[in-house]
Amino acid sequence: MALMTLRVNGEARDVSVQPHHSLLRVLREELGLLGSKRGCDTGGCGCCSVLVDDKVVYSCMVLAMSCVKKKITTVEGLQVNGALDPLQEAFVRAGAIQCGYCIPGFIMASKDLMRRRRFPSEKEIAQSIAGNLCRCTGYQKIIEAIEMAVSNSNGAG
């Protein structure tokens, strides 16, 4: 076991981890942040997606020890003073959430897209969620939600 400090959602958190423990395992089992889900646990389904230094990654494939000194953002870190992030808001309003299991991952992947592209095309939106699986919605409502969030944020800016 090694002691280290991780910067998660703006807070410094002390954790004790094994060198081969994934970031997902530490987030869920050490820090109790259950928003990031364990789906396939092999970097395929996207349920565990989080941001590391603002870039989306599969937290099941990232070693926790590699994230020391980096900025880690999970879905729990998106809301500001109780107000949902525009992406979360749009997912609710577009009816993009059915069982909801995959949604934190989709939101984190979309967050990365919105950082990179202010006016993404529909194709770019589809490509940005290529690493996330949803077994309920058929993706159309998810794409609509991301489009809604994009146009809302551009309208506000």
Binding site: K55, V56, Y58, M61, L63
Partner: protein, 282 residues
């Protein structure tokens, strides 16, 4: 820590330590109980190995450079000569592109990966360093077997070297897969250079994924292209000729017969993709 210290740490724990680059493979190995005697992980992320540098001979790409960083480096990503590499780094989703590194992909020595096939089609070299010396290893001599490279105890791959190619050079990589999350059933990397009469003056054909423990080069296919205009017949002949060099295996992804049939098809398509690039850009 610097590269010298990392090399010493690695050499001292020979067989018991492993280098971590992007780290995307470590968890997979651990989950399948394949970490074996590995007790120490050596993370290279703070050694300044994330870079792409241009020099008169070509480009040097630091081993810790992520797929996404390669994609965002325009002098490489906009040059059709390196199209195979761009095809390969574009295949995985953002979550992988942001983490997986060029050095990690190469040093994993997994014949099912796409980036190593692309880099072999580009005749890339790997720079290996220890605490005392360094050497260049051509990629076609770098892969020894699955999970085994030509790196010796304490040697660390620090960069991948891409050479410059003549004008009218293009490359391509195609992956045949059962689904977007799976490794390749077969993948083919091609590179061609055409002269002013559109004859092929240089080429490289590499096949990977289920054709053996390491990617396979196909000199027979390259001979069929030599000094020829790449019309339908020539491309078909070359694609057929890959079977003289490639001996596919059967596994749960596909039978040897299926792979043989697909080897011809994928080589043909990959060559046409490279040809289209010479004619019309990316």
């Amino acid at each position: 820590m610097n590269i010298r210290e990392a090399s010493v740490a690695l050499a001292k724990r020979s067989g018991r330590a492993m280098i971590v680059a992007g780290g995307t493979m470590v968890h997979g190995l651990a989950a399948r109980g394949l970490l074996g005697n590995i007790k120490t992980l050596i993370d290279l992320q703070n050694l300044g190995l994330s870079y792409v540098k241009s020099d008169p001979k070509g480009f040097r790409i630091g081993a810790m450079t992520t797929f996404d960083e390669v994609l965002n480096y325009k002098p490489v990503s906009k040059d059709i000569a390196y199209g195979a590499l761009i095809d390969a780094v574009n295949l995985p989703p953002a979550q992988i592109r942001n983490m997986a590194t060029l050095g990690g992909s190469v040093c994993s020595s997994t014949p099912f990966f796409d980036v190593p096939i692309a880099l072999m089609a580009l005749d890339a070299d790997v720079r290996a360093k220890t605490s005392r010396r360094q050497r260049l290893i051509p990629l076609n001599r770098f892969f020894i077997s699955s999970f085994e490279t030509a790196l010796k105890a304490g040697e660390i791959a620090t960069e991948v070297i891409l050479r410059k190619f003549p004008s009218r050079t293009a490359s391509s990589l195609l992956k045949l897969e059962t689904n977007a999350n799976d490794l390749a059933i077969l993948n083919v990397g091609t590179r061609i250079t055409l002269d002013k009469q559109s004859r092929c003056i240089e080429s490289r054909i590499v096949v990977g994924g289920g054709v053996g423990p390491v990617p396979v080069n196909s000199p027979s296919a390259e001979r069929k292209l030599r000094r020829r205009v790449l019309d339908e017949d020539t491309i078909s002949e070359a694609s057929e000729a890959t079977l003289e060099d490639v001996d596919p295996v059967s596994d749960f992804r596909g039978s040897a017969d299926y792979r043989r049939a697909m080897c011809k098809v994928m080589t043909k398509r990959a060559l046409k993709k490279a040809l289209a690039r010479v004619r019309g850009g990316m």
